[in-house]
Amino acid sequence: MSKPILRATDVVVEFTGLRALDGVSLALAPGEIVGLIGPNGSGKTTLINAITGQVRLAGGSITLGDRTISGLKPRDIALLGLARSFQIVRLFNEMTVVENVQAAALAHGAGTRAARATALRLLHELGLDARADELGASLSYGDKRRVEIARALAADPAFLLLDEPAAGMNDAETEALLHTLAALPAQRGLGLLIIDHDMGLMMRLCHRLQVLAFGKTIAAGSADEVRRHPAVIEAYLGSEAAHA
């Protein structure tokens, strides 16, 4: 049996007076890297929050294989194999880096020793060995981002949802992150959903891109298809014109 697909169907999320997601659908298969792009406020983070149970759906559904997961608590969704990072980094600040990562493995049933070994291995893979004993709060921004990724991976997820993993990283760090992330689907057979504003990174990394604007999907496809799509050009130019 093949691994289940994570699927969002016609998802609607409403905040008081605002429809943040208006019928968005998305499918993510194991081994696949899907990028979610779009102007600020287009609903990208809300979609991840909806999938992982942090916000409630006003319509539509999220399924994992045959199982409906929308309506479950974040904790239960996490235990089904969905791990995530946050747009605003959420590390355990008063705990050491290794404990941060260890926590994820523990939550998924590993023993303390095994969890520590997993944590140290992942920190090594992400080039964070030297930071293992530092407190979460004392890290640089780029390091915090990488610890969050290590922490998400320690849960050994089937699907990994990363919200702006490259934000605050310099070019060299972004390049290293690209290689780490690109290798994940093959290494671990996981499905990767990424939000980021670094278009260079997204175009090179993602197998497929989906573009959101005002809570709706305006385009989807390969990097080239998306780049040339008139609705995408308009959304981005429009938003840049608004910034200017």
Partner: protein, 343 residues
Amino acid sequence: MNRHLLTAVLLSGLVVLLVVATEALGVRVFDRIATNLCVSLVLVIGLQIFMGNSGILSFAHIGFMGVGAYVSALLTIPAQMKGMALPDLYPILQGIQVSPYLAIALAGVAAAVVAAVMSYPLMRLSDAAAVITSFALLVVLHTVMTNWSNVTNGPRTLFGVPKATDLLLAAGVAVAAIVGAVAFKESRTGLLLRASRDDEVAAAALGAHIPHLRWRAFIVAAFFAGVGGALWGHFVTSFSPNAFYLHQTFVILGMLVIGGANTVTGAVVGAFLVTGAFESLRSVEARLNDLKLFNDQVVGLTEIVLALAMIAVLILRPGGLFPSREIGAVLARAFANKKKGAA
């Protein structure tokens, strides 16, 4: 050496040192102070287990100290004395008399059971709501103790609790509490609970069942509070419900806040510091009163100084003296840095 083990050994060593120094001096009053300090250690460390790992301020702790003290008293007051000490006692309890050591352990269990039943629905709450409910819990326990005359003698003093606690017993339990708290902190439950303390949303997104983790810590904390209360009861031999209320809560919280709630080291250091300061201030107070500098007696100096010290710590060092790293980790890191510097 493993740094957690190092922490446990160093902190226990401090307690052993206290016992050795007290025995060597052979002064009676020091013996009393040291025993009280060890009882305080059990209580503060118990509070650290819940508060330090969950990040939720709990006022209820001293209520469970009271539960322990009364349970142990009920189990140990000799049958012939019970008629006088507790005239309205239920007949079924009149004949019961067990060894104080067994009673102290059972007192811990009883406090833990009461805590488990009372607190389960409360553990979903966070922040201010959790703090206020814990305070309500203290008030409930206090009200029960003052009114359930059959078993507590009501608001009146309960006499006749057999003396069983000496310095050695109190110190032994304190060491057990230190080892227990360090082990709990590093356990699966402890580590995940600390994760929820630092970021509830992120911990839940990892799959941590936060109310359940908190509940476990609350039960373990109540166990130590019960044991501490029983130890204290068998030390002072007579007490009333007021012993387990706001004043004691303030002192124990003060010790933990000054030392640093997030670490066992902080709990231990806080208990030593505050006890030391209290005893010196008390003697200053006595001297002042002897000199008759003022028309009235000088009282309450200790509480005022503790309050000021708490305020100072909260302003200058909000996490307390040991805010995030245990003494074992501090030393291990210092040693590693030195080695790196030499190489």
